[in-house]
């Protein structure tokens, strides 16, 4: 009765390697920014404003990716910007996930009035325009790292709640849930030990997606100058700054933009890749 079905192992896909690799690189860069960054990210040198990256004519040695209009090193600012981006991604992403997934799981599994209350709340919540809502929140809370994280959590928990609710509902209709009841497992125990493991791949995929979104939201907020202080290096702040001088110094805009793009793409691809990988069920 032995067959090969148990031996199927899929190789780690290219997208998992690439996205994971980029994020690992970024994490190292963020952690080691003080040692890796060639210059102080805040140091201005008005004589060295708008220096091009190293391969172009007129580049200043030591400034690999050029300088912005105030003479600050673009590479160093990107490296330090990675710190803020990753902190926001991790903390805001995780908090959003825990709150949203918990509410979604309860709504989808308990149904009844629990579901009605949570779902109506989600519906109302989703009627607010998100970016405007974020700007309003920051205006009330005052700019700062904590405010950004709170704003992201408050706005985005509905994403998790909705998806996880639907998933928990479809899992709750499965016979293995009825079987757990026949075995005498409590409702709460069934939710944790039977349903949760089955929605976990979806939660993980959403979590990484949410981390990407958190990075974008942080960039949007710093683009409109509502993130942490204007002086600190943030990718969004750099993009905003680069936009004004794109005709004279495109590198100030393009490098943080590429970094941001690759980071968000890597987060979403990592989620997809992980979901494929850790799903023991061949769907």
């Amino acid at each position: 009765m032995r067959d090969a079905r148990g031996d199927v192992r899929r190789p780690i896909g290219l997208r998992l390697w690439l996205s994971g690799g980029w994020l690992a690189l970024l994490t190292v860069a963020a952690l080691c920014a003080p040692w890796l960054a060639p210059k102080d990210p805040l140091m201005q040198d008005l004589f060295l404003g708008r220096m091009p990256p190293f391969w172009m004519e007129g580049a200043e040695p030591g400034y690999l990716l050029g300088t912005d209009s105030l003479g600050r090193d673009v590479l160093s600012r990107i490296l330090y910007g990675a710190r803020l981006a990753l902190i926001v991604a991790l903390v805001a992403g995780t908090l959003t996930c825990v709150i949203g997934a918990t509410l979604g799981l309860m709504a989808g599994y308990y149904r009844g009035w629990t579901d009605r209350v949570i779902s109506r709340f989600v519906d109302i919540w989703m009627a607010f325009p998100p970016v405007l809502f974020a700007i309003l929140l920051i205006a009330v809370l005052g700019p700062g790292l904590v405010s950004i994280i709170i704003a992201i959590v408050i706005i985005d928990w509905t994403r998790f709640a909705r998806v996880i609710r639907a998933e928990a509902m479809s899992q709750g209709a499965m016979d293995y849930v009825a079987s757990a009841q026949v075995a005498g497992r409590t409702r709460f125990g069934t939710m944790l030990t039977e349903i949760l493991p089955n929605v976990l791949p979806t939660i993980i995929a959403l979590l990484t997606l949410e981390m990407g979104i958190a990075v974008i939201v942080e960039a949007i907020l710093s683009f409109v100058n509502l993130s942490i202080s204007t002086d600190s290096p943030t990718w969004g702040g750099m993009i905003a700054e680069g936009r004004t001088s794109v005709h004279q110094a495109w590198w100030v805009l393009v490098f943080p933009l590429i970094t941001l793009f690759l980071t968000v793409l890597s987060f979403s691809q990592l989620g997809e890749g992980l979901k494929d990988r850790f799903d023991p069920v061949l769907r």
Binding site: D3, M174, D175, Y176, A178, S179, A183, G184, T193, V281
Partner: protein
């Protein structure tokens, strides 16, 4: 008596016809069902689709709460017992489900699936008990480390049986357990069940729409039609001299290898 059912009624709300305000109209699924299951009996519950046989089964193991009437399990009235009050007795009546894919948690290994209910009821020596249960259903012990999707339909259904018998219940409800299987796995699972009934002295209720399966396994049959019992009696009598018109209809629906031959 393991089970005594008296005038059991069960209705469920019809959400598709629920008005905007107010309660949904209720559909009556069981309309006064009464029967007994003596200890050691193998009762077949047969009926067409929509006859209420699965609902009846789910009420018996209290996955559903009846609207009125009584279900006595080994003398205890479990009709309206709360889930908390039932929990202690749950070990004693078990169920095997129709769809062996959805009734096994896809994220658990077979060993965990079989051991889970035993752990809940505080049984010890789980590893040995899992091995024993796998032996009883004729699967190799190495299967404990496999996931359900790595098994065939017949093998999965054996896991469902192993999970139920591992708890040493007094009663097992088998709800259409062979209807999803191909004919040769059907035969194997039925043989297995027959052996287990003989070896463990199980009391079994076997729900099916297929009279030829019932005839092979059960010593008593109950025919359900539109939520009512239309006929019940010993299997041999029922096949020899069906009383109700509906029973004759069901008997006529059995495909015979030789069309000119009649049952008997």
């Amino acid at each position: 008596m393991i089970y005594e059912l008296r005038d059991l009624h069960l209705s469920l709300p019809d959400m598709s016809r629920k008005p905007l305000l107010g309660a949904a109209p209720r559909i009556e699924i069981l309309k006064g069902v009464s029967f007994d299951i003596p200890k050691g009996a193998v009762l077949g519950i047969v009926g067409g689709s929509g006859s209420g046989k699965s609902t009846l089964g789910r009420a018996m193991v209290r996955l559903l709460e009846p609207t009125s009437g009584h279900i006595l399990f080994d003398g205890t009235d479990i009709t309206h017992l709360s889930e908390d009050a039932l929990r202690g007795m749950r070990r004693r009546f078990q169920m095997i489900f129709q769809d062996p894919m959805s009734s096994l948690n896809p994220r658990r290994r077979v060993g965990g699936i079989i051991a889970g209910p035993m752990r809940l009821h505080g049984m010890d020596g789980l590893r040995a008990r899992v091995d024993e249960a796998l032996d009883m259903v004729g699967l190799p012990r190495s299967f404990a480390k496999r996931y359900p999707h790595e098994l065939s339909g017949g093998q999965r259904q054996r896991i469902g049986i192993a999970r139920a018998i591992a708890l040493r219940p007094d009663f097992i409800l088998a709800d259409e357990i062979v209807s999803g299987l191909d004919v040769s796995s059907q035969a194997q699972v039925l043989n297995l069940l027959q052996d287990l009934v003989a070896d463990l002295g199980l009391t079994l209720a076997f729900i099916s729409h297929d009279l030829s399966v019932i005839r092979r396994l059960c010593d008593r049959v109950l025919v359900l039609h539109h939520g009512q019992v239309v006929e019940q009696g010993p299997t041999a009598d029922l096949f020899a001299a069906p009383q109700a018109a509906y029973t004759r209809e069901l008997l006529d629906a059995i495909p015979l290898p030789d069309p000119d031959q009649v049952w008997r």
